[in-house]
């Protein structure tokens, strides 16, 4: 019953996420939050760039990184971003089932990215590259780990949203949440592109 | 008329106070307002220029402010609505452009001096090179050209450029001799060594201070800069390099070697460099940078220091007779436990370490 009430007498507008002031506030507020997140990652990048040559006796980036695996992770995350685009498209067409399928695909890809990252960190630690090894290792784990934590949070969040959609259906209350989670997912994807470039590619170049 | 006089009368004590303040420019060996060298002089000139410009601004603002407050105050029963003015383009342009001009007048000499004072004389054979290392809470001065090290008292020749290379042995400090020139931080870690040059045209002793919070005894991390003529400086260098005799008394010697020389060094016996070098400590102006030897004798000051170092400079790295070190990497270093006899002997020996220069 309650799910039904939120659909304005059964009719969802084309962009249900922007139908109410609450929805518009949520989207605007979330963009502002992403502005803050940009500064957060910007600072982490700055710290990493300042410290990346301080490897001491630990392994150097050139020695450490395995580009093929990182490239695979990058591709997985990019495709997951695409999946979340399709989810938002389905949202606009009010195709709830399709949307949920795409969201589940997004989550699964996010999980496989996380799996790869955990495997990667594990390998590094076994090669003597720990948080405490050098200034380079500290800034590396903090930057990449912060991103990983963001992915993990995104997976959890979208998972909960799927549960909520099952319970309440697509309404003007749930739609903005789906929409901002998609923006969030794109954001962490963009951050990863920068990590791939600045940490991994530049690490290989020297 | 009456009113104005009353205002003036009220302002009189304030003006008198100001005059008193301005006349009190502080000690010649400490104040930035009585520069004793060209570096401090250049900085003082910029200070004067900026204060003059800013005084002009303050006077204009205060004048308008006082005028407005008197002229436009609301009279009793006045209920008229003033004209609602949106703005005035001419005025707004004036108070945008005039400050820009004032800033240009200030900005050009600023940039000039920024570059002028950052000159590097490291390769200049005429300059004296000094490596400064700061420690909690003392200063180490090394003269790499002469192969000597001293502490707490910087000896420099007059008339030559002194090029400093500054770094820290522990936390960040700042090296500052106010009457000779501005400060610079001493950083720990690779790639953050700083350079600074100063000049001492006049002979004399100038007070130096640490200007960056560095722990409990930051306030007490003073040093002295003593400028002497070239001949005297040469004699000092020679005296610093001369061999130093150990205490004659065997018991005192044993205590000195086992309790002091583990960290300190004296003469060529460079057993330790974790603590101030003691060569010539008897002819320094102070003990520990803050106990003045003209107020008490060197020997008494040394005795006070060795027995109560932790009280005199809380948190420093030297254990005293009965107190352990409580802070920093030397934390837990146990008290020296010197006997009264050893203490007397060591103080007397060190007080006798005088250099002729």
């Amino acid at each position: 019953m309650s799910a039904h009430d939120h659909q304005l007498d059964g009719h969802l507008p084309h962009e249900p996420e922007k139908a109410t002031l609450e929805g518009r506030n949520k989207i605007l507020g979330f963009w502002l939050f992403l502005g803050a997140e940009t500064v957060l990652f910007g600072t982490l990048f700055a710290a990493f760039i300042a410290l990346r040559h301080q490897t001491l006796d630990g392994p150097t980036p050139d020695h450490l990184f395995e580009l093929p695996m990182v490239f695979a992770a990058t591709m997985i995350l990019l495709v997951s971003s695409l999946a979340s685009v399709f989810a938002v498209q389905a949202l606009h067409q009010h195709k709830v089932k399709q949307m949920i399928v795409w969201l589940i695909i997004t989550i699964l890809l996010g999980l496989s990215f996380l799996g790869l990252e955990i495997y990667e960190f594990n390998t590094y630690v076994s090669e003597g590259h720990k948080l405490t090894t050098s200034a380079f290792s500290s800034s590396f784990y903090t930057l990449v780990g912060f991103h990983g934590a963001h992915v993990a949070f995104g997976v959890l969040w979208i998972g909960l949203l799927i549960a909520q959609i099952f319970k309440k259906g697509l309404t003007v209350v749930t739609a903005p949440k789906i929409y901002v989670s998609a923006i969030y997912w794109h954001f962490i994807d963009v951050v990863w592109v920068f990590i791939f470039t600045v940490v991994y590619l530049m690490g290989k170049v020297g | 008329m009456m009113n104005r006089w009353r205002v003036l009368k009220r302002l009189l004590p304030l003006m008198a106070g100001m005059a008193l303040l301005l006349s009190a420019c502080g000690r010649d060996d400490l104040s930035t307002l009585s520069p004793q060298g060209p570096v401090a002089q250049k900085q003082f000139d910029l200070m004067t220029l900026s204060i003059s410009i800013m005084a002009l601004v303050v006077v204009v603002v205060f004048a308008i402010c006082i005028y407005v407050l008197i002229r436009f105050r609301r009279r009793k029963g006045d209920n008229t609505i003033p004209k609602q003015v949106e703005g005035n383009h001419t005025l707004e342009i004036i108070w945008t452009v005039v400050p820009i001009i004032l800033l240009l007048i200030l900005g050009v000499p600023t940039i000039n001096t920024v570059f002028g004072l950052s000159k590097d004389y490291s390769k200049d054979p005429e300059a004296v090179q000094v490596t400064v290392t700061s420690h909690q809470y003392w200063w180490e001065f090394e003269y790499p050209e002469y192969g000597i090290k001293t502490a707490q008292e910087l000896i420099v020749p007059t008339g030559r450029k002194i090029q400093f290379k500054l770094a820290s042995g522990d936390v960040t400090h700042a090296f500052w001799i106010p009457s000779i020139g501005g400060k610079i931080d001493t950083n720990a870690g690779l790639g953050t060594t700083n350079k600074l040059y100063l000049e001492f045209p006049n002979e004399g002793v100038f007070r130096g201070k640490c200007a960056e919070l560095c722990g409990p005894s930051h306030a007490l991390m003073d040093f002295k800069a003593k400028a002497v003529n070239q001949a005297s400086f040469d004699r000092w260098v020679a005296a610093m390099k001369a061999p130093v005799a150990m205490p004659a008394d065997e018991k005192v010697k044993a205590a000195f070697e086992s309790k002091c020389l583990t960290c300190h060094a004296i003469g060529e016996t460079n057993a330790g460099s974790a603590a101030p070098n003691l060569t010539g400590v008897g002819s320094r102006l102070t003990v520990g940078g803050i106990l003045y030897n003209d107020e008490k004798s060197v020997e008494e000051n040394l005795k006070d220091w060795i027995s109560h170092a932790q009280t005199i400079k809380p948190g420093n790295q030297m254990p005293d007779v009965s107190t352990n070190v409580k802070y920093g990497p030397g934390k837990g270093t146990t008290a020296t436990g010197l006997t009264e006899e050893e203490l007397d002997g060591i103080a007397k020996y060190l007080a006798g370490q005088k250099l002729e220069y």
Binding site: S2, N25, L28, G29, G35, A36, V39, L40, A46, A50, L51, Q54, L56, L131, T133, S134, A135, S137, S138, Y141, T142, V172 | L21, G26, L30, S31, T32, A40, Q43, M47, S50, V57, V61, I64, C65, P82, V85, G87, N88, E92, L103, L106, T110, I111, V114, L117, S118, A174, K183, I184, G189, L190, R207, K209, A211, E212, P216, H218, D222, G315
Partner: protein, 606 residues
């Protein structure tokens, strides 16, 4: 179903305050918490001054002194000044923009309680016995694991991290509120100046606080997990901390001072009965100050050794900030010019602000001269400078704003006699304390020293400074007395108690009802309420009857900018919206435990 009733349990008394999401109540909570921390920070300041009253004093000793200066700085900036600003923001902004609440009422409450938790955690250190002592700037290596033993700095890191999250939430909330929730017709260029400065301050919070977050995380990792960000022995870089701290820290000082600029603009305009002179240049100056504020951080680091190029650039960039600031000063003076100035406590603080802030501003330009800064840096000159801008600027602004908006916030007037006594004691005490400190710095006294040797010429000036600090303390106590006296006074307050109110908050009752506006106002100009009053007066003078509804704004064809505002399709008044009423009643627990209460069943109106 048909009733559309909203069966939320309404709490009363203490529970109501603990769970409220009403911006007006949250504003009062911020004021109480910020006020308490202000008293704590003030007490710390008094202890600092007692310690320094004479040379080689041993009143608190070296360790406690460093703890006092650290806690004084941190408390005053993060736990007193910013919350008191948030108090004014919460109390005033939704009213000024004609909104029924902020964009995210629940986040507003969350932000307050997060800040409060962080503040309490930081101060628990006094009882735990491990107190932060590396200065509010917490420079490494002194604050690092090697030299900063114990858990003192950990309290600083955790406390600020948590309080900082609360602040960030507040910043996002107020940006979104001001962008999305303005009343119909209130374009950006019709917003009151205080709203503008809060908008810009919120933007600064959003873009500056995450930098601090990263800095605190990195230092926490160093201290707790043996990471090496700032461990110079393991390749870490201590100067990096200084950069991170000041990239945050410099915008932070503008976060503090811009709202004070806003308060002063409102108060001066109201009490001189004049429109703010050069409104658009004021707005532009505010934006420019905020923008430049992000590119001058290294002027805190002239003596760090960044080299002449960096020092030169940051010198010039810093000086440039003087231009928009000067524009503001003159705009205030010319708002007063030709006005009809009444000297209430609020306007005294605002008028006292102008010369005081100018003095702090000019010493700021002097500090921007890098070679001269080599002499000023880390001396009492700097201490004097930033107290002139933060106390003489921000705290005067807060006092002014509190005296001004107190009737709106609490429905009670503050006593004017006590208010003026507060002003004079605080004003004289302030100048006595800090003017002399400029000279202490110039004659060679470094800052953050727990004592000083006799015979250096510091003795008299320090004693005078301490006397001034006591006078400021007395001023603060008089204010507290005033608050208590006003609470006992039951006389109700008019909607527009100063009679010269200009912005929308004065068009509604004091204190405002929970929903603020019975009908959302239609804004036709800058100074909307003032212009409405003028129009009514003209109409009354012309013999026509005024409108019966005091809260509704009339259309006047003669109003300026008439053509621009007819974009709201809602006609004369915007319909009261049920949505906002409901939201104002929603409480904290409902969000935390959504299952315990029935969900809203009302359809949402666009």
């Amino acid at each position: 179903m048909a009733a559309h009733a909203h069966t939320v349990k309404r709490y009363r008394g203490l529970m109501d305050w603990l769970t409220t999401v009403d911006h007006k109540k949250i504003g009062i909570l911020y004021l109480i918490a910020g006020g308490l921390f202000f008293l704590v920070g003030g007490l710390e300041a008094i202890l600092i001054r007692i310690q320094l009253i004479k040379p080689m004093n041993n009143f608190v000793g070296a360790d406690t002194f460093n703890q006092l200066i650290t806690m004084h700085g941190t408390t005053m900036i993060f736990l007193a000044a910013m919350p008191m600003l948030f108090a004014l923001m919460n109390a005033v902004i939704p009213l000024q923009i004609g909104a029924r609440d902020v964009a995210f009422p629940f986040l507003n409450s969350l932000g307050f309680w997060t800040f409060f938790a962080g503040g309490v955690l930081l101060n628990i250190s006094w009882f735990a016995g491990d107190i932060p002592d590396a200065g509010w700037t917490s420079y490494v290596p002194l604050a690092g694991p090697t030299y900063g033993g114990g858990h003192g700095v950990d309290y600083y890191l955790m406390g600020l991290q948590i309080a900082g999250i609360g602040t960030l939430i507040g910043g996002i909330n107020f940006m979104a509120t001001i962008i999305n929730m303005r009343a119909p017709g209130m374009s950006f260029m019709r917003m009151p100046m205080f709203t503008w400065t809060i908008f810009i301050t919120s933007a600064l919070i959003v873009f500056a606080f995450p930098v601090l977050t990263v800095g605190l995380v990195a230092l926490t990792f160093d201290r707790l997990f043996q990471a090496n960000f700032f461990e110079t022995g393991n390749g870490g870089n201590a100067v990096l901390w200084e950069h991170i701290f000041w990239v945050f820290g410099h915008p932070e000082v503008y976060i503090l001072i811009l709202p004070a600029f806003g308060v002063i603009s409102e108060v001066i305009s109201t009490f001189s009965r004049k429109r703010l002179f050069g409104y658009s240049s004021m707005v532009f100056a505010t934006v420019l100050i905020a923008f430049l504020g992000f590119m001058v951080w290294a002027h805190h680091m002239f003596t760090t050794g960044l080299g002449p190029v960096a020092n030169g650039l940051f010198s010039i960039a810093t000086m440039l900030i003087a231009v928009p600031t000067g524009v503001k000063i003159f705009n205030w003076l010319f708002t007063l010019w030709g006005g009809s100035i009444s000297f209430t406590s609020a306007s005294l603080f605002a008028i006292g602000f102008i010369p005081t802030f100018v003095m702090g501003g000019v010493t700021g330009v002097m500090l921007a001269v890098a070679p001269a800064d080599f002499q000023y840096h880390d001396t009492y000159f700097v201490v004097a400078h930033f107290h002139y801008v933060i106390v003489g600027g921000l705290i005067f602004g807060i006092f002014s704003g509190l005296h001004y908006w107190w009737p709106k916030m609490f429905g009670r007037m503050l006593n004017e006699k006590l208010g003026k006594a507060t002003f004079w004691t605080f004003f004289i005490g302030f100048h006595l304390t800090f003017f002399i400190q400029h000279f202490l710095g110039l004659i060679g006294m470094p800052r953050r020293v727990w004592t000083y040797l006799p015979g250096q010429g510091f003795d008299t000036m320090n004693a005078v400074s301490t006397v001034g600090a006591f006078l400021m303390g007395i001023g603060t106590i008089i204010f507290v007395v005033n608050v208590i006296v006003s609470a006992a006074n039951k006389k109700p307050v008019a909607d527009d108690p100063w009679e010269d109110g200009r912005s929308l908050e004065w068009s509604i009752p004091s204190p405002p009802p929970e929903y603020n506006f019975k009908q959302l106002p239609l804004v036709r100009s800058y100074d909307a309420w003032w212009n409405e009053k003028q129009k009514r007066q003209r109409r009354n003078a012309a013999g026509r009857a005024g409108r019966t509804d005091p809260y509704a704004f009339a259309i006047d064809p003669s109003a300026r900018h008439e053509h621009r505002i007819v974009r709201s399709g809602a006609g004369l008044h915007v319909r009261p919206s049920g949505r906002c009423h409901r939201r104002a009643r929603r409480h904290l627990w409902q969000h935390v435990l959504p299952l315990r209460v029935r969900r809203s069943r009302l359809p949402h109106r666009a």
